[in-house]
Amino acid sequence: MTDTTQTERTEARASVLSSALAALPRPALLLAVLIVLLCALVIAFGPVRALQATVNGFVAGSYTGLGAIGLTLVLGVLKLVNFAHGDLLVTGAYFTILFAWLGLPLPLAMLTAMLATAALALATEKIIWQPLRLAKAGSLQLFLSAIGLGLVLRFTVQFFAGSQVRTLGANVVTSIAIGPLRLGTLQALALVVGISAMVIVGLVLRFTSIGKEMRAFADNRALAEVSGIDTQHIINVTWIASGFLAALSGILYATAIGSFNPNFGITLLLSLFAATVLGGIGNPYGALVGGLVIGLSQEWSTLLFNARWKPAVGFALLILMLMFMPQGIFGRAKRRS
């Protein structure tokens, strides 16, 4: 008798709890989950190790999030799974090396590299994607073209730069101490630039007309076209933004990690896909948040497992998200049109 009332009471309490959780907005829920996880890690591993991993997670999250924006916009606006996106990150990092070698000071070389990568992304639209769209290409054709483009980009870089490990040439080995936490100067720089870039991108998307049009387009293309948005203009801007941010992300990665080879893009691509799916396809804010979640999960995982399994956490999150929440954490399940 007492047993049943006990169970009933627990069940009632559980249902109250779950309905209260469901009523919370998704971002708040996500934030709550992350804070609970962080507290658990602080208790289990001590504040220094947990916070150090968190800071590293923000560094990883900033380049993952910025890299994922281009991927999610292209997927949302053009319905194109751009397998070559990771290689745009690589192109950005190696353009920096090229321009620095040509004599530009490093910050200027980085900026020029971002512009060059944006131009390259726009060129791929004109040479490859626009003609394929006009020919009403099927999804296999688009997949294979993206894969082909990725191979061309990655191995052109490798052809000229070789496959050996390189650095951006900023040989700064000093580190900054914030209390007991240590952060390399370059990592700190990457963190500040990355987070500021995320805020700027968020503001541009929120308040400028081009940002609004891009979001409208990624969300519902037919509706956006009907309301008089210039399709080709938006597509061009999407590619430029995608290339620019991909290069920024690649440069941040190169700065924060220090050494890299031309394969880092394809390795990072699945984390970018994970961030994209996590944030909901076509949702650039989602991609930023998704990137941070991926970055934090990967760095937190190093407290639990050997650091070499870090990328596997990204893969696992990607597969779990695809299986259980393909619409993303912020997305609503869409009706099929």
């Binding site: 073209s145 082909g148 990725g150 893969f315 393909p326």
Partner: protein, 308 residues
């Protein structure tokens, strides 16, 4: 030298032909964009290698075990991700192949980057038994010829089997799914089960290809099974022809002849640059064929109507 070189090209063409039969079944006849084929190939090959070296199994018993494990992996991947949209399915399968490669690179059981070595003694015995026999017809000098013969016998047999399967009611249901999933389901067919069978069969074909890769390279290491090789498979698939098994044979021979043929061109490039150039050629080729003749040489354009 030169004949040995071309025998080796033939071996590669045969192995990747078997590999691509599976992709043709999935992409060409079921409409499934399986980008994880290299992962299934790795599972097949490593199962064989590890069972022989660590467990002392016979090579000939390890082959069916490798196939079974690859099929199980195919079922697992299929059950987990076949309900996804086609582009999500493609991403999930590529993630699967990366996980396999990553695990092989880092786990203790697979020997990491050192790989698995010393599983092919029984194959060497067969090969040595065949060579004197080949010598009687004057071909005893070519040590890779036995592998070439066995690979192509297997390839032709599997190709005929797949052609036969495609002519059965089962094969017609697959094509129905490719053309219109909802209509096929409305006819009372269990679309999910058919897709799962298609994926599992492709995984089995990949495991057979992996077995021959193992015999060809004589030791297993993760980069042999890089997910990029799935893209090579798709390149030769679209070259030969979409939804055509004969096209797989033609595509594989042409693809590997052209790709390996570039090695014969005298250049002043370094070995690394030549390797990069070969990948660039594959990339440019994928871009061109998708644009100019997406159905491939032997493909029928009516087999790949654009679906929404």
């Amino acid at each position: 030298m030169s004949i040995d070189f071309w025998i080796n090209v033939g071996v590669l063409a045969g192995i990747y032909g078997i590999f691509t039969l599976g992709l043709q079944l999935n992409a060409g006849f079921t409409g499934l964009l399986n980008f994880g084929q290299a992962g299934f190939m790795a599972i097949g090959a490593y199962t064989v290698g590890i069972l022989v070296v660590d467990r002392g199994w016979s090579l000939w018993l390890a082959l069916p075990a490798g196939i079974v494990l690859a099929v199980l992996a195919g079922l697992f991947v299929g059950i987990a991700s076949l309900r996804l949209r086609s582009d999500h399915f493609a991403i999930a399968t590529i993630a699967f192949a990366e996980i396999v490669r990553y695990t092989l690179q880092n786990a203790a059981f697979s020997g990491g980057n050192q790989g698995v070595l010393g599983f092919d003694a029984e194959w060497r015995a067969v090969s040595d038994w065949m060579l004197p026999w080949l010598a009687t017809i004057g071909l005893g000098a070519y040590t890779q010829l036995p592998l070439f013969i066995v690979v192509w016998l297997a390839f032709v047999a599997l190709l005929l089997m797949m052609k036969g399967l495609q002519a059965t009611p089962w094969g017609r249901v697959l094509r129905g799914i490719r053309e219109d999933e909802d209509a096929t389901a409305a006819l009372g067919k269990d679309v999910f089960a058919y897709k799962l069978q298609s994926l599992a069969l492709a995984a089995a074909l990949a495991a057979v290809a992996g077995f021959f890769v193992a015999l060809n390279v004589t030791y297993l290491y993760p980069t042999v099974f890089d997910p990029t090789f799935t893209f090579f498979g798709y390149a030769l698939l679209v070259l030969g022809g979409f939804a055509s098994y004969g096209g797989v044979a033609l595509g594989s021979v042409l693809f590997w002849t052209l790709l390996e043929g570039t090695r014969l061109i005298e250049t002043s490039l370094s070995a690394g640059q030549q390797a990069s150039l070969r990948f660039i050629i594959v990339g440019v080729f994928l871009l061109l064929i998708s644009r100019l003749r997406p159905q491939g040489l032997l493909g029928n354009v009516n087999e790949m109507r654009v679906r929404p």
